[in-house]
């Protein structure tokens, strides 16, 4: 047996395969061009942010905020500490006082938002529906101590916020009502 150079000639089947793979490759190239063309002519999905404000989807978790009853202008919170106990990080601190009608109300409601991980557990723990996730998202501050939110800036506006649904309709969130309180 003599071992000559390997036979590198292509068989007929291999030639056919090369030709068809070239043609299918060219076809997939055309398909790719079509995909990019479609994406080029349709409107962009991004927009200029400060000029146009992003309206979050329903269920967006900004920060835990206190719902305000539009009739009384007060929060629905009675300082039961359920949220503070549910918080895995312990960033919620509540001090309460008693009114003349024996009902308790928060005199101080402090959230160290810089450490908050926006897990929603406090909202789920509240038996009175007094907490909700605000759909705001512009939180940047120059000093860390400005990230400690107090009762004054944790209250939501009574009219709530407008958020989007996936089907394109809008709905209001952060309204008083719901819960067992």
């Amino acid at each position: 047996m003599t071992s000559g150079p390997p036979d590198l000639r292509l068989t007929g089947g291999e030639r056919m395969h090369n030709l068809t793979s070239l043609l299918t490759g060219f076809w997939s190239f055309i398909c790719g061009l079509w995909v990019t063309l479609v994406n080029t002519v349709r409107p962009p999905v991004t927009f200029q942010y400060p000029e146009k404000y992003y309206v979050p989807l329903e269920g967006f978790r900004g920060y835990p905020a206190l719902v305000v009853d539009p009739e009384t202008g007060e929060t629905k919170c009675n300082g039961c500490q359920a949220c503070a106990r549910a918080c895995p990080l312990g960033v919620i601190h509540i001090e309460t006082a008693q009114r003349e009608d024996k009902k308790r109300y928060p005199v101080e409601w402090r959230l160290e938002f810089g450490r908050c991980m926006v897990c929603n557990l406090c909202v789920e723990a509240c038996p009175f529906g007094a907490l909700t996730m605000s759909p705001e998202y512009e939180f940047a501050e120059y000093r860390p101590e400005d990230l400690v939110y107090t009762l004054g800036n944790l209250k939501l506006p009574p009219e709530g916020f407008e958020v989007r649904r996936l089907d394109g309709s809008t709905v209001r969130t952060g309204l008083a009502g719901g819960g067992r309180g």
Binding site: N18, L22, F29, G32, L33, V35, T36, L37, N39, T40, R42, P44, V45, T46, F47, Q48
Partner: protein
């Protein structure tokens, strides 16, 4: 440009030429001055177009990816973005690596820009708007267009960096594989028109564009063009994800700006060449020739960008295999068929 203004300028030019040819000193000065005017015109043309092209590429890539692209600098649509980028680049610190071969490192950006400028000499932008209508125009083109790889090698070797050297070697391998099918594809056009002069090739396409009779040749030319331009899918010399930035990684500031400028100037030059060879150059009804030339060139550039933002980068072995096993035979078959056709008619 209105015809009477052109005639007026021609008249002024002829008068000055006549006056200057009376003495050898003024004649020499006139030749020098007219050369400088031509250089300034071409340089201005290149720089303005490059600024537009960089902006266009960023805008187009943004739209392909459903983004907006640059919007902030200059309204509307961030038109001043490239100007701001250029000013920023010019203000950057100029660094030469200590281990670099300083002479090569410094010369390389100049060489790549010179090589790009050389191509513009034979680009016909109108019936008379051509720097020099060489009778070996296409041959000159093939030589000048492949000259850029010398600079890529100089930059890669001179930087003394493994990434830039790898990029430069890839660029050289790519040139060897793609220059041959490109020239063979262009030869089909030369056979049909019977001339090597670019302006004569444009004139011979008054009836029928060569893309209609040379579709295979055009596809081969288009594929080779991407390798020549170092663009995706054949941007192996500057593959960002593998070689950081390829041959130009060690460059900064003004020298990097030269590479950047040359890249887009090359895109414009080769698109103009493609329009000249396959799309009838400056020929077209109603509009002035220069407008037709620019319209076709920008249309072709959009096509190149469209392909560039569609395809991923190929592997090195795929690149060489495609060049030698697909493009070269296709170009040869195209040349043979064209030759037989020309012989029979």
């Amino acid at each position: 440009m209105p015809a009477d203004l052109g005639a007026f300028l021609q008249g002024v030019f002829d008068q000055v030429h006549l006056w200057a040819s009376q003495s050898p000193f003024w004649s020499a000065l006139f030749t020098l001055g007219w050369g400088i005017v031509k250089v300034v015109l071409v340089l201005g043309f290149i720089i303005v177009n490059v600024l537009v092209l960089v902006w266009l590429e960023r805008k187009f890539s943004g739209r392909v990816q459903s983004r907006l692209g640059p919007m902030r600098v200059g309204r509307p649509h961030g038109w001043a973005q490239t100007i701001a980028d250029m000013i920023k680049l010019l203000g950057k610190e100029d660094i030469v690596p200590r281990a670099a071969d300083k002479a090569l490192f410094v010369i390389a950006p100049v060489v790549i820009f010179t090589a790009t400028m050389l191509v513009y000499v034979v680009v016909p932008m109108g019936p008379r708007a051509i720097v020099s209508d060489l009778n070996i125009g296409v041959l000159y083109l093939a030589a000048a267009a492949s000259f850029t790889v010398i600079s890529v090698l100089m930059a890669g070797w001179g930087s003394s960096s493994k990434w830039s050297l790898l990029g430069a070697l890839r660029g050289a391998a790519m040139l060897v594989s793609y220059e041959v099918p490109m020239v063979l594809a262009v030869m089909g056009v030369v056979l049909l028109s019977g001339t090597l002069s670019t302006n004569a090739i444009v004139k011979s396409q008054s009836g029928l564009w060569y893309i209609l009779v040379q579709p295979i040749g055009f596809l081969v030319f288009l594929a080779a063009l991407f390798a020549e331009l170092n663009r995706v899918p054949f941007d192996l010399a500057e593959a960002e994800s593998e070689l950081v930035s390829g041959f130009n990684i060690e460059y900064s500031g003004l020298r990097f700006a030269f590479f950047f400028l040359a890249e887009y100037a090359n895109l414009l030059a080769l698109s103009a060449i493609a329009v000249t060879l396959y799309f009838g150059g400056w020929q077209g009804p109603f509009l002035p020739p220069f407008v037709w030339f620019m319209l076709k060139t920008y249309g072709f550039i959009i096509l190149v960008m469209w392909i560039r933002w569609t395809l991923p980068r190929v592997r090195v072995d795929q690149l060489l295999e495609f060049g030698w096993k697909v493009l070269l035979p296709a170009a040869l078959v195209n040349l043979a068929v064209t030759g037989v056709y020309v012989l029979l008619t």
